[in-house]
Amino acid sequence: MATATVELKPKDYKSNVPPDWCPGCGDFGVLNALQRACADLKIPPHEVVVVSGIGCSSNLPGFFKAYGLHGLHGRPIPVATGIKLANKDLTVIATGGDGDGYGIGLSHFIHGIRRNVDLTYIVMNNQIYGLTTGQVSPTSLAGMQTKSTPSGNVEEPINPLMLALAAGCDFVARGFSGDTKHLAELYKQAIQHRGFALVDVFSPCVTFNKYNTYDWFRQRIVKLEEKGHDPTDFVAAMQEARKMGDGEVPIGVFYRNPNPRPPLDERDPVLASGPALVKRPMGITNAEGRKLIEELM
C-alpha cells in the first residue's frame, strides 16, 4: 500500500456520479466512511480498486473515485483476488450486499478467508435484497415478512461474524452506517491489516426493511471498545459475535489475531519473490523454451 505525499480529502474519492440510493439509505454512510478512511490513509485514488457484485450496495464503485469493477452478483471476492494477485501494489477493496456476499457468494467469502489474500471486504448488510425490491436475505431475521416470505421467514439468519471467525479470519469487525466516524476507523484498521479483513456493516434499507431500522439499531448498538472487549481473544470474540438477536448488537473490532497468518502474497513462492506480477517482463526466449521441451525428449 503506497501513501500519497499530498494531503488527500474525502472528496478526492468522490466521483462525479451522485449516489442513486434512496434518500436515507444506509449505504451513503458506508460510502462516506470509506472515502474518509482512504483519505486518512493517504492512498492515492488510482491505487485503489473497489470491486463489487450486484445490488444497491454494489453500485458503490460508481460513486467512488478510484478504479472500480462492478461485476457479477456474488462474485466480488474472486474478482478482487485476481486483481490483487496480479498487482499486489494495489489496495483492493471488495464490497457488496448481504445477499451478494452471504447468499450467492458465501463460498467465496469463506474460501477468501482461507486463501487470506490481502483484501478488505465490506458487506453492506441490510438484511434484505434491496435492488430486487425486497426479498428475504440470509441475514433476515426469522419471522420477517418480505415479498418472498409474505407470511414470515421460516429460516434462521446466518451469523457472518461467527462464520468468519470459524473460517479463520484474522480481522473481523462490524460497523453501523449510522456512525460513519466509527466506521471509518474500522475501515482504516481493516485496510491496514495484511490479509483478508472483514467489515460487516449494518446499513439499513429504509425502503424495504421495516424491521431493522436506524432506530432498531440505535436502541441495541453497543461499542465493543467501550465495554472493554479484548479483540485478541478469540473465544471472547466468538461470544460477542453470537449476540446478534439477543437484544444487544455489538459493533467494533471483534477479533484481530495477534499472530496473523501471513497473506498469500508472502506465502506463494511466485508472488513472494519479486515485484507485482503485472510489473514483471513477459515471455521467454527460445533457448529457455527449448529447455522446457527437452523435458519431454
Partner: protein, 605 residues
C-alpha cells in the same frame, strides 16, 4: 510382409502402471527418431477397470490411433482375452505367465509370447509393476529395435532415485529383451530407428502450457477436471520456476472471475476446465465480454452430457461455448487441430484477446489434450510472433483529454487502462454503460446510447473475422468428396483421405479452426465447388453441421458421427464415406466394435 508401421496395444487395469509404461516406451522410440501417436482409453476409476493404451509407431508421423493392432502387451488375463482376437496376422501377444493363466487360442499367424517375468527378475515378488519394464524390453527385442532406447529412458527416469534403481530397471528390461530374443521370432518391420533428429513426446495439454509460457501468462487458474487437469499439473510443476502463479480456487465460478480479475489488472491469466466446469463459468464469460476484459479459457471437451463418460473424448460442447452466457457479446471460439496448433493458438489468442478485449474460448477435447505424439522441437517458436498487448495503457500520459474507457471507435476497440495508472480511473461495469463507464441501466436509460454501445462491442466481431485466416481446402480441388471437420479430427480425416485414395476415392478436406466468428462466405465458396460434402464430427447431434448450415446455408450430403466415447479411427471415416457415396445412409453413426471394446455387464440385476 514387413510392416511400415506397428500398432502396439498395452492392456491392463487402472493401477497397473500402464501410463508410465507407455511413457517409457514412447520416449524410447522418440529418442531413436521414430514417430508415434499414442492414445489411452481409460475409465474413471483409480484402481481396476480396463485400460487400453495404443501406440502407433512409424517412420513418418502418424496422425491418429490407427485402425488395427499388431502387438499386444497384455498386463492381465482380461486384456489378453479381449484383444488377442484383434491382432493382425504377423503380429504377436506378449504377456507375463504369472499374471495370465489361461491362454486363449491365437488367431492365425499371431505369435504368442509368454514371458515368465518372475523368473527374469527377482524384484517382481516385491514390485509387480516391474513386469511392465520386462515386457517393454521384450517388445523392443521383438520389434528388432536397439535396446539403447529403453536403456536411456530408464536411466533418465530413475536417475534421481540412484544408480541401484537404475540398474535394477535396466536389468529387468534387459532380461525381457534377451528372453524374447532367445525364445520368440522378431517381427519383420521397416521401422528405421537411429534417425538423427530427436523429437519430443508431447500432449496437447503440455502444448497449451508451453503456449501459455510463450504468451507471457503470469497466472494459471483452474479447478481440477478431467481432461483439462493435465494443464493444471504441468503449470503447477513449472510455475515456481517460470514465475507463473498457479491457483486452484474453490470452484469454476471463482476460477473464471479470478481469471478475469487478473486480466483486468493487466497480467495475462489463463484458465482451463472441461464442459461441466465451463457451464459454471458461462455467466462470467459474458462479464468479460461486457466489461471488455481479455480472457482466455481452454475448454477440454469430454463425453457428455452431464458427468457423462469423463475419461472419454467427444466434441459435444460447441453449442455450450457458442451460447455461453445471456445476450450477445463478442467472443472468439477456436479449436486447434493438432498439438502444434495447441501451442500456436495460445500465443495467437492472447494477442487477439488483448487486441479486441474479448473473451476467448479454446475448444480442445480429450483426444487432442491427452494423446501423446512426437513433435519436432524446432517447430516451437517462443519468440514469434511476439507479445502484442493491443491498445493498453500502463503509464500515465499527459494529453489533457478526459479518458473514456469505452470510447466508441470504428473498430469497437477502446484503449484500455489498467488499475494503478494515474489519470485513467474508471469503473468497469457489467451493467450497460456509456462511453465513460457510467451506467445506463440505472437512474437513466437511453435507447440510443444502448444501441450505440451494443454496436460498438459487436463491431469487433467483423474486424476479428477479417483478421483471422480463412479456412483452406487441403487436397485436390476436384476430389469426389469434401470432408469437413473441426478441431482435433484433422489428423484422422487426413489419414482417412489417404486410405480412400487407395480405394479409388479422391477426397479433400476443410478443417475449421475458427468457429466463432465463422468464415461463412469463404467456406460456402469452397464447398460450393465440392461434388459432395460430408461433415465428420465427434458428437451425436451434429452441432458443427448445424453451425455450418446456419453460416453457409449449405446442406451437407452426409454426416459421419461418433459418440461412443472412443475417437475416430481412419477406417470409420472410410466406411462412412463409402456408405454415404453409395447412398446407403445420410448419417453414419460409427462405433468402435472390435471385440476388445465390448464388456459384458458385470453385475446382473
Amino acid at each position: 510382409m514387413a510392416l511400415d508401421e506397428v500398432v502396439v496395444g498395452i492392456g491392463g487395469a487402472a493401477g497397473d502402471g500402464i501410463a508410465s509404461a507407455g511413457d517409457t516406451l514412447a520416449l524410447a522410440l522418440a529418442r531413436q527418431g521414430l514417430k508415434l501417436y499414442a492414445y489411452n482409453s481409460y475409465q474413471s476409476v483409480i484402481r481396476g477397470g480396463h485400460i487400453w493404451l495404443r501406440l502407433r509407431i512409424a517412420n513418418e508421423q502418424p496422425l491418429s490411433p490407427g485402425n488395427v493392432l499388431n502387438c499386444l502387451v497384455a498386463l492381465n488375463q482380461e486384456s489378453l482375452d479381449r484383444h488377442l482376437p484383434e491382432i493382425q496376422p504377423g503380429g504377436l501377444a506378449l504377456f507375463n505367465t504369472h499374471r495370465v493363466k489361461r491362454v486363449p487360442e491365437a488367431p492365425d499367424g499371431v505369435q504368442l509370447c509368454p514371458v515368465p517375468v518372475p523368473d527374469l527378475t527377482e524384484v517382481y515378488t516385491k514390485l509387480q509393476v516391474i513386469q511392465n519394464t520386462v515386457l517393454i524390453g521384450a517388445l523392443y527385442a521383438l520389434l528388432d529395435l536397439p535396446f539403447e532406447g529403453v536403456e536411456s529412458v530408464l536411466e533418465s527416469t530413475f536417475a534421481r532415485k540412484g544408480q541401484k534403481v537404475v540398474d535394477l530397471n535396466v536389468g529387468a528390461a534387459k532380461a525381457g529383451y534377451e528372453y524374447a530374443k532367445a525364445n520368440f521370432r522378431t517381427m519383420e518391420n521397416n521401422l528405421k530407428p537411429g534417425q538423427d533428429k530427436r523429437f519430443a513426446v508431447m500432449t496437447g495439454n503440455e502444448a497449451f502450457g508451453l503456449g501459455a509460457v510463450a504468451a507471457g501468462v503470469r497466472m494459471y487458474i483452474a479447478y481440477p477436471m478431467t481432461p483439462a487437469s493435465g494443464i493444471l499439473h504441468w503449470m503447477a510443476a513449472h510455475g515456481e520456476k517460470l514465475g507463473i502463479c498457479v491457483r486452484q480456487p474453490e470452484d469454476e465460478i471463482a476460477v473464471m472471475n479470478m481469471t478475469i480479475g487478473a486480466n483486468h489488472a493487466g497480467v495475462r491469466a489463463m484458465c482451463g476446465t472441461s464442459g461441466g466446469g465451463f457451464a459454471l463459468m458461462t455467466e462470467a464469460v459474458g462479464m468479460a465480454g461486457m466489461i471488455e476484459t481479455p480472457m482466455v479459457c481452454v475448454e477440454v471437451q469430454r463425453a457428455g452430457p452431464s458427468t457423462g463418460v469423463p475419461t472419454k473424448t467427444e466434441q459435444g460442447d460447441l453449442f455450450q461455448a457458442k451460447g455461453a452466457g445471456q445476450g450477445d457479446y463478442p467472443k472468439l471460439i477456436v479449436a486447434p487441430r493438432n498439438v502444434y496448433e495447441c501451442f500456436e493458438t495460445i500465443k495467437e489468442v492472447f494477442n487477439l484477446a488483448d487486441k479486441y478485449q474479448i473473451p476467448v474460448i479454446v475448444l480442445s477435447d480429450l483426444l487432442l489434450s491427452e494423446h501423446h505424439e512426437t513433435v519436432d522441437p524446432d517447430r516451437f517458436d517462443f519468440e514469434s510472433p511476439g507479445i502484442d498487448r493491443g491498445e493498453l495503457i500502463t503509464e500515465p500520459e499527459e494529453n489533457g483529454q478526459p479518458y473514456y474507457r469505452y470510447k466508441v471507435t470504428e473498430t469497437g476497440v477502446s484503449p484500455r487502462a489498467i488499475p494503478g495508472v494515474p489519470g485513467y480511473m474508471h469503473v468497469a461495469a457489467t451493467d450497460e454503460h456509456d462511453e465513460d463507464g457510467v451506467l445506463i441501466s440505472d437512474v437513466y436509460t437511453d435507447p440510443t446510447r444502448r444501441k450505440k454501445m451494443m454496436e460498438k462491442r459487436m463491431r469487433k466481431m467483423e474486424y476479428l473475422r477479417k483478421e483471422l485466416p480463412p479456412p483452406q481446402l487441403e487436397g485436390p480441388e476436384d476430389a469426389d468428396v469434401t470432408l469437413v471437420g473441426w478441431g482435433s479430427t484433422w489428423g484422422v480425416i487426413k489419414e482417412a483421405i489417404q486410405a480412400l485414395k487407395e480405394d479409388g476415392i479422391t477426397a479433400n478436406q476443410v478443417q475449421i479452426k475458427y468457429l466463432v466468428p465463422f468464415h461463412g462466405k469463404e467456406v460456402a465458396e469452397i464447398l460450393s465447388r465440392s461434388k459432395k460434402v460430408i461433415v465428420v464430427e465427434n458428437n451425436y447431434d451434429g452441432q458443427f453441421a448445424r453451425l455450418l448450415r446456419s453460416e453457409t446455408l449449405i446442406k451437407p450430403d452426409g454426416h459421419i458421427r461418433k459418440y461412443d466415447g472412443e475417437p475416430f479411427e481412419p477406417k470409420h471415416i472410410v466406411a462412412g464415406v463409402k456408405k454415404i457415396l453409395a447412398g446407403e445412409e445420410e448419417i453414419v453413426r460409427c462405433l468402435s466394435e472390435e471385440p476388445g471394446w465390448r464388456t459384458e455387464h458385470p453385475y446382473p440385476v
